[in-house]
Symmetry: T
Amino acid sequence: MSKTLYILNGPNLNRLGTREPDVYGTKTLGDIEKACAELARDGGLDLVFRQTNAEGTLVDHVQEAADHAGALIINAGAYTHTSVALHDALRLVSVPVIELHLSNPAAREDFRRTNYVAPAATASICGFGAMGYDMAVTAAIRLVKT
Amino acid sequence: MSKTLYILNGPNLNRLGTREPDVYGTKTLGDIEKACAELARDGGLDLVFRQTNAEGTLVDHVQEAADHAGALIINAGAYTHTSVALHDALRLVSVPVIELHLSNPAAREDFRRTNYVAPAATASICGFGAMGYDMAVTAAIRLVKT
Amino acid sequence: MSKTLYILNGPNLNRLGTREPDVYGTKTLGDIEKACAELARDGGLDLVFRQTNAEGTLVDHVQEAADHAGALIINAGAYTHTSVALHDALRLVSVPVIELHLSNPAAREDFRRTNYVAPAATASICGFGAMGYDMAVTAAIRLVKT
Amino acid sequence: MSKTLYILNGPNLNRLGTREPDVYGTKTLGDIEKACAELARDGGLDLVFRQTNAEGTLVDHVQEAADHAGALIINAGAYTHTSVALHDALRLVSVPVIELHLSNPAAREDFRRTNYVAPAATASICGFGAMGYDMAVTAAIRLVKT
Amino acid sequence: MSKTLYILNGPNLNRLGTREPDVYGTKTLGDIEKACAELARDGGLDLVFRQTNAEGTLVDHVQEAADHAGALIINAGAYTHTSVALHDALRLVSVPVIELHLSNPAAREDFRRTNYVAPAATASICGFGAMGYDMAVTAAIRLVKT
Amino acid sequence: MSKTLYILNGPNLNRLGTREPDVYGTKTLGDIEKACAELARDGGLDLVFRQTNAEGTLVDHVQEAADHAGALIINAGAYTHTSVALHDALRLVSVPVIELHLSNPAAREDFRRTNYVAPAATASICGFGAMGYDMAVTAAIRLVKT
Amino acid sequence: MSKTLYILNGPNLNRLGTREPDVYGTKTLGDIEKACAELARDGGLDLVFRQTNAEGTLVDHVQEAADHAGALIINAGAYTHTSVALHDALRLVSVPVIELHLSNPAAREDFRRTNYVAPAATASICGFGAMGYDMAVTAAIRLVKT
Amino acid sequence: MSKTLYILNGPNLNRLGTREPDVYGTKTLGDIEKACAELARDGGLDLVFRQTNAEGTLVDHVQEAADHAGALIINAGAYTHTSVALHDALRLVSVPVIELHLSNPAAREDFRRTNYVAPAATASICGFGAMGYDMAVTAAIRLVKT
Amino acid sequence: MSKTLYILNGPNLNRLGTREPDVYGTKTLGDIEKACAELARDGGLDLVFRQTNAEGTLVDHVQEAADHAGALIINAGAYTHTSVALHDALRLVSVPVIELHLSNPAAREDFRRTNYVAPAATASICGFGAMGYDMAVTAAIRLVKT
Amino acid sequence: MSKTLYILNGPNLNRLGTREPDVYGTKTLGDIEKACAELARDGGLDLVFRQTNAEGTLVDHVQEAADHAGALIINAGAYTHTSVALHDALRLVSVPVIELHLSNPAAREDFRRTNYVAPAATASICGFGAMGYDMAVTAAIRLVKT
Amino acid sequence: MSKTLYILNGPNLNRLGTREPDVYGTKTLGDIEKACAELARDGGLDLVFRQTNAEGTLVDHVQEAADHAGALIINAGAYTHTSVALHDALRLVSVPVIELHLSNPAAREDFRRTNYVAPAATASICGFGAMGYDMAVTAAIRLVKT
Amino acid sequence: MSKTLYILNGPNLNRLGTREPDVYGTKTLGDIEKACAELARDGGLDLVFRQTNAEGTLVDHVQEAADHAGALIINAGAYTHTSVALHDALRLVSVPVIELHLSNPAAREDFRRTNYVAPAATASICGFGAMGYDMAVTAAIRLVKT
């Protein structure tokens, strides 16, 4: 099994730390990437960490992960709720897929109830803020090992 | 407050003037840009005017506007009805956002009732054709001044 | 074409300026009428400006406008969302009809999604507060001239 | 802040290990309790671990946790989807509440889309099987400390 | 009338032949392109054959086809179900548009019932696997000739 | 039993003959009243014939009919689709109530499917244009006699 | 124009007079046919009067009427609510089509709200019991003459 | 705080005592007014008691109450279920608003589930018949005092 | 008729006075019971006052009331919205049933619109806080006497 | 295979014979138990017969049946329509499960259309009153033997 | 009371024994008829046993049963879910009607939730396979005798 | 494998060529049958070609095809949208089933969205007019050979 962990981030996550800090915290995506890389290395995994605002590029990244990843963590942001293309791409992935959200979507707008990532994911973590990335990486390390 | 006015245009608006002229008129987007630039200059504002067919690029543009604009006018075309990513990006903008449509969506297909731009906009103008751009720029000038 | 501009206002707009000033501003309907009359005169139009809390009376006014107006601006208030009678009356009007709202209905209750005015209107302006009346009058003057 | 961690389990979780092992794994709830107790102790927390098939008793337990817990982990099983009483009880809890599910409900029947726990929870973990309990306890320890 | 046939393919179709071969067959998109080119040449048409994972790029391609194609075959993949922008672009095309799907969407998930391509297409073919491309090209040749 | 026939007409029917003549014909409501009065007299009935644009006044008229009419014919226009108050008033009428429409609502907008008059009426006639008034009066005469 | 009037009756109408007499009256379909034939003859029309319990046969009859009738009266019974085939057949008829029902469907079960006859009919009469047949024949005579 | 209690009654309540006495009792609205006036006087309040069949007039009355009342009791009858204008007017009232119904709407038609008064009211009483007026006046007296 | 008044309380009402005091007030359920007992005694009634978090126990209590009560007041809390079993039990009660709620459910979450108590109750009181208990007891005394 | 037949009864069935006898008959649950025991014995089966008003206890009983029963007959009463916990418990049962209802739910309220027992049952019998118990026992005996 | 038992079978039941034997068993409809005839004779009843693929013919058969049967058993197959005509015919039957299905519709497609037979039937049996016919005949014999 | 190709046509297709020629073309069903027979013969297949207006007869034909056909092409017309009986019959067919429509249903009425043929078909062709029959026969020949 591949020793590479993919963490893919969708639209507007490049604004993390500047956007509604009381909801999403003050850490930037760069801070998070650094923490994840360290955790992954300790767990014996290489890390590929990406962000894009474009649905098609996110699909490209998932296809790449389908070929090269040992596990995939995806925080698809708004594309979670609208992208069937992403759903189809995730269906191509045979390694564990962990869906990740910073906030708890159950406490937000109705249109965030539609979710095309979850039915194509193995498991999900949401509402823990930046700490959710740590949890997902730790879980991915365990899943890759088993 | 910034003296730059952003006007962002979504998919298929590059075809304006060629597409169903009895519905959308014969002016091209180039004609409109020229008219807006003139009006903006008279009102003391610089104009950034963009068009893209890609949702992700439109999100990029809105993020840029969030950093640099004094006001934002957005005719998101079809992404109005499908893009939660755009909605999230618009939520990042703290200056006035004016939603603009050439035609009156209430007289069109049902799927144009879903609107992710409106709840993240300050105000909206629709159904005035190309004249709507003039109205939006004039209003934006007043809003930037107050 | 008639040189008379009708501005019709629906229920509770007589309370403007006293009602939720942070949402609707502090201008009264009298203040607005005065401003509109001035703008209309400058544009060469006579102004008929009315307000009523009664659906039937609003229908009467629209029928009158169907006979005498060169353009019609209507802020139908709550009847926007419930009055098929108003819809039918507006269908009788052959001159331009501009729908006007002070606030942005997309940011309010779900029952304000139903809209019987929009499909019978040429164009609409909403969310600009009292400034929307100015914009509508200016647009109406242009539309009457063309 | 209290040093007691509550883990509450709802209906049919007493059958764990015997019920559809390919979906839910072969560990019993007793095995899980033991593992959690160890983890909690290492993290400096006391553990209260309960299971009940009765909605009213689950409400009693949540009320107790509202008075005595530093954090609450709840796997409400089927009551997740039907119990407004449980929702109301969770609203009484002011410490972090972590919703936990063994499987990924997005891949199951439609009636599991209704969720009364999530809107009253801080965060959620699902689809990791028994490993989800470990993750929840670890997260709870961090949350109690901050 | 133009002698160029456009065949446009949407997201994840670049993975054909590797993805769920029992559903979609073992032919790659390259194999299909070769077969289509041969069939088109025999029918006296030039072939433009494209694939993209990006909605905006697919819109660009359709706009290009609107200017240059004698007929358009489109397998929009997942964007069939979510892209109003694609729908609007297809509305700009005045030559025959044939919608194509490898599998029978009636036998798949509910969210594949929403279809923005069909109402803007002349005709459709689905469920024939790779053979559907042959059928579509053959039909397009006949339609271009009449 | 009372020898008085009430014919009540709702909003916008005062515009009959001027409004969309190809849908509703060229007869005015005055023409229709004259024809009905003659038919009623021949059938031995007095006629009360009213029109109003106001829902409340229509309710007043129905209450009056409840006290004085031998039969009631009602063309409630748009209030058919929105007025529960009218429904409640019609429930007070113990003589036959004939619902009348000039056009066939089944061929019109969806919002005309909601009908508060029909469930409180004995019978209905629609789609016969002005001739429907004749038919209703003739039927009412027969119903009053039996 | 043809001098033949078709009256077509759908399922269970052969039981008229025996079935729930307090709802449908005591007249049999034979009684009604006799009365209609007399009225038609007085109006100068020949009458074809049919009943069938079979949807396909009713479609056959409507196709026959499409070729030979000057007007068509149809009481489609339960097929009103379920038969798209009947709808399509009625669309083939270019002479006036009068929909007829003995009772008032608005006062019955919800599934009688679906109506495939009405959108393909010119006009409709319902709730007058057997008297409705007289009214329909009289109206048909007038419509054939004009 | 004002010492005036407003009791406003909507459409068809003027028929009370004559209409379905087994549902609504035999007391007329006049009887009820007398009883309320007495109770109010004992409680130290003046009473304004109104009834109207017109939605617009009911809105006028509520606006008047917004200016002059210490408490408002409203039995809006059918306008409860259809009037957004009434909802908006009630939002203008800053003193306690008690919604009142004679019967229990939960046991009636589905269209009485829509309620525009309740979300703008402080509290509600229903199903007690005429006794509900006594209860509302008694409660209003207590609320005005606190 | 029995001289015993039952007041039954559902889930989480044992937390009254501690839970969101600005919504529900500071009185405990014990305070309320005391006040009710006094009022009941003055009215010549014995009081049975119960609270339970369990649906089945609430059903038991209602069955007991069906055998022994002269009137039943029920604040079913969350079971109002989910319990068909409670609905069926209330259908067994032949004496007056008064539904009681502390707050106004119309101003709360959508899932509180479903109500299984109301269609099985005689009348209801909501939104008056603890004062609603007094009102219900006073009304029950009057109902038992008549 | 076990020789024990479980018959489990849900809420309000303890009131049988006293509750709406014209709908449910005059036999008590004790009468029914006696008849079933006799039939079971004749068929060579032991009978366990239970009733409870509590959802959690019903789940306990089903879990017990999952361990000890050769066949399970369940009349879940109102929990049929609301209990996902019961559904999950029934999924644990590997022997035949017969769903039983005294009345025909198709002729009752809409909320009885939701059914969580049926999809987890082998077969069902409803509308035969107390005779349905006999039929179910007889069928269970045949199923246990095969 | 008539001594004739009607058993009517709808579309595709003539294929029984050949169609999906693991779902419907290997018995043909002929085998079933033979078994039913024997059981009926033992119970003192004559048997009329029919099958048809045609909705109209099934309606004819039900009308015949309405005149001649002592009890009616109907397995309407797919017409259960689509035939209002069948529903109306069954409403004409005054003797007991037993609805029968071989499989458990609750475990099948959503469109099998619509059921026009059940609301017109006395009772129903489903999911017992061919054994259900025996059960229905046995029950019919008991019902005819009482 | 059988060498017989079945082409089955549903209601109103016998009117082809006379019915809305601008939508469906001027070819009659006879013309089409001739063309198909020729194509089939060239491909080495015998042709059975049928049309019926009756649902039951269409089911008979499909059952016959289930026994004798090597492939089945079905243009079920309106029964596509209403016939579960047809769906069930098609489920009995083990050879390829090609669904065929002359027009593009996506561009027609909403009630044509319901489709009972598609989920029981292998593939579908629509919107090509009479040319669709050629395409279907050609495809069937290829499918029979493989």
